[in-house]
């Protein structure tokens, strides 16, 4: 597949937005400005960027506890995301969700989810709703390799298969579920084999390669849009950092981490873009500049925003009927 220059620029920008957002959030977290936990998407930027790059604006996604990348790639704003991480009133969720639960329904982000596999049922249900409404929307459902062992995964994927629902299951195979190696958790060399249990197509791609992810996702999304049902796209992308910030990864061989870092998907991609003369160094720099400005502005916004009024804790449970 040959992609035009703009697509490449979009990919690069998307990946960089994620990387820089995460790096900045980690700094703020270390400085004590962000409560709770941070599961960074560093190293997996190509996955969300490639998949969301293949979606149409009306399409929907669900994210995970490691969900900042999903949100950004789908087009959410950095400032309101950062504010949400801070627990500020100006955050997407008014401070009620935090890092693991950011959502923006107006942007098609049905929510990140702190329960492993927690978004799979609802993503599949959204696809069902779309099918019933006869629209052509597709849902991309992100989850980790660890989530493939939850019963919720199994039940939802089976239902999507028998009802030919327009959903694409994107497995972010970073090789780990916290400290437990996926090699020990699943007795398969190629995780996409699991798709066979449901009679749906499954494919494995290099999750560090945004173009490979895009291509596989595009095929799966088009298939879904044609009404031919769900597919599974396994994106292999060795985890570059700890499970969450603060994880010393004592359980993991050092050279495994080093190898992952050496293959850094953004570094690789930018070198490729320049080497292939798709984008010049200056063009990349200009993109970087935009991203830096956005990040700086996001931190400023989050820093300066107020906390919600404590009494708001009791709001937003039920819709009050008029």
């Amino acid at each position: 597949m040959t992609l035009d220059k703009n697509k490449h620029a979009d990919f690069y920008k998307s990946m960089l937005r994620i990387r820089r957002f995460e790096e900045t959030a980690i700094e703020a977290f270390s400085a004590g400005k962000i409560p709770g936990f941070i599961h960074s998407y560093i190293g997996e930027e190509a996955i969300a960027s490639g998949v969301c790059g293949a979606l149409e604006p009306g399409d929907l996604i669900t994210g995970t506890h490691r969900g900042h990348g999903h949100c950004l790639a789908k087009g959410m704003r950095m400032d309101r995301m950062m504010a949400e991480l801070y627990g500020k009133a100006t955050g997407y969720n008014k401070g009620k969700g935090g890092s693991m639960h950011i959502s923006d329904f107006s942007c098609g982000v049905l929510g990140c989810n702190g329960i492993v596999a927690g978004g799979i049922g609802l993503a599949t249900g959204a696809a069902w709703g779309n099918q019933l409404q006869g629209n052509s929307r597709v849902v991309a459902c992100f989850f980790g390799d660890g989530a493939m062992n939850r019963g919720s995964f199994h039940e939802a994927v089976n239902m999507a298969s028998i009802w030919s629902l327009p959903v694409v299951y994107v497995v972010e195979a970073n090789g780990w579920g916290i400290s437990f190696s996926t090699r020990n958790a699943i007795n398969l060399v190629d995780l996409s084999e699991r798709a066979k249990a449901y009679g749906i197509p499954g494919v494995s791609v290099d999750g560090y390669d945004v173009m490979a992810v895009y291509e596989a996702a595009k095929a799966a999304i088009e298939r879904a849009r044609r009404g031919e049902g769900p597919s599974m796209v396994v994106c292999n992308a060795p985890r570059m950092r700890g499970h969450e910030e603060g994880d010393p990864q004592t359980y993991r061989p050092k050279d495994d981490i080093d190898k992952a870092k050496k293959n850094d998907p953004i570094k690789r991609y930018s070198e490729f873009l320049v080497a292939q003369s798709i984008l010049s160094k200056d063009e990349l720099k200009a993109i970087k500049q935009q991203v830096e400005e956005e990040v700086a502005q996001a931190i400023k916004f989050a820093d300066e925003s107020p906390y919600p009024n404590p009494e708001e804790a009791l709001q937003d449970l039920f819709v009050e009927e008029k």
Binding site: Y92, G95, S103, G118, G121, G125, L132, A156, F318, V319
Partner: protein, 325 residues
């Protein structure tokens, strides 16, 4: 007025709401092909098609999970979980997803979905098919809990549930489906949530009861009437929201209360209602509130065992006599 069964009342509510609103859909195990394990959804698939009335695999977690997703994109799913003991199979979806997502989102979305399920004590279903799960759900914020006793209430409340923009769980009772008949008007009506119904007026003693226990409370009231004890029976009908005003009004009149339920005794609905009565009307009480509930054991299969451990009419009578002594 015509009399119909509890099952028929629910069937009518579903049919009318599906006619009224194209967004209303329903899904669950066997609900299409045979109208559900109890025949409650009979005829709906013929009328509305297999898209809107969907038979599902045996996947309770996905039934609830998919309903949630469909609700988030604007449908109004009514999910059936065949027996309320099976709620254990989809508890995560209820605890962490259905009841949490709107709140976590800061109010961005609405989740207009209903989970219909059946309690089923009293039919030799044994431990795994005799559920009473209302207390578990009542403890979880973010879902309304409806538990009707009569065909009239069932129909009017189910219509309200389907129109509610919030998650609602609707507890039916397998023994009521064909065992309880009652007057239901031909004309359309709905019943608001949070409004208790005084099923019998009285002045000596208040019995708060819901679901099938209302019938037993009324039976007990008849028996007690012969001893000159004049019982008021109040059915809250919805546990969330809970109409304490009507209950407290009655307590202020009678000063004696029994709270009766088929649930397991410990840490259930009865305790909650009792707490709220004590909180609001401590000085009005002439005696401690009596709780009549089912023994804290799994439900045994054999009829004499099941009968023994269940909350029964006689248990209410006994508690009443103790209270009046």
């Amino acid at each position: 007025m015509r009399e119909i069964t509890y099952a028929q009342a629910i069937n009518e509510a579903l049919r009318e709401e599906m006619k009224r609103d194209q967004r209303v859909i329903t899904l669950g195990e066997d609900i299409g092909g045979i109208g559900g394990n109890f025949g409650v959804t009979k005829g709906l698939q013929e009328e509305f098609g297999s898209q809107r009335v969907r038979d599902t695999p045996i996947s309770e977690d996905a039934i609830v999970g998919l309903s949630l997703g469909a609700a988030l994109v604007g449908m109004r799913p009514v999910a059936e979980i065949m027996f309320s003991t099976f709620l254990g199979c989809c508890m995560e979806e209820i605890v962490n997803q259905v009841t949490a997502i709107r709140y976590m989102s800061g109010g961005q979305c609405t989740i207009p979905m209903v989970i219909r399920t059946a309690n089923s004590l009293g039919r030799s279903g044994a431990a795994q098919h005799s559920g009473r799960a209302e207390a578990l759900i009542m403890h979880i914020p973010g879902i309304k809990v409806v538990i009707p006793a009569t065909p009239y209430d069932a129909k009017g409340l189910l219509k309200t549930a389907i129109r509610d923009p919030n998650p609602v769980i609707f507890f039916e009772h397998a023994m009521a489906y064909y065992g309880v008949k009652g007057e239901v008007p031909e004309e359309e009506y709905t019943i608001p949530f949070g409004v208790a119904d005084v099923k019998r007026q009285g002045k000596d003693l208040t019995i708060v009861a819901y679901s099938l226990m209302v019938r037993k409370a009324l039976e007990a009231a008849e028996i007690l009437a012969k001893d000159g004890i004049n019982v008021e029976v109040i059915d809250p009908r919805t546990l969330v929201p809970l109409d304490m005003d009507t209950i407290i009004k009655s307590v202020k009149k009678t000063h004696r209360v029994i709270v009766a339920s088929e649930e397991c005794e410990t840490a259930g609905v009865c305790a909650e209602i009792s707490y709220r009565i004590v909180e609001a009307a401590f000085d009005e009480l002439d005696a401690p509130i009596q709780r009549v509930a089912t023994a804290d054991v799994p439900v045994p299969f054999s009829p004499p065992l099941e009968k023994y451990m269940m909350a029964k009419t006689e248990d209410i009578v006994k508690a009443a006599k103790k209270l009046m002594a």
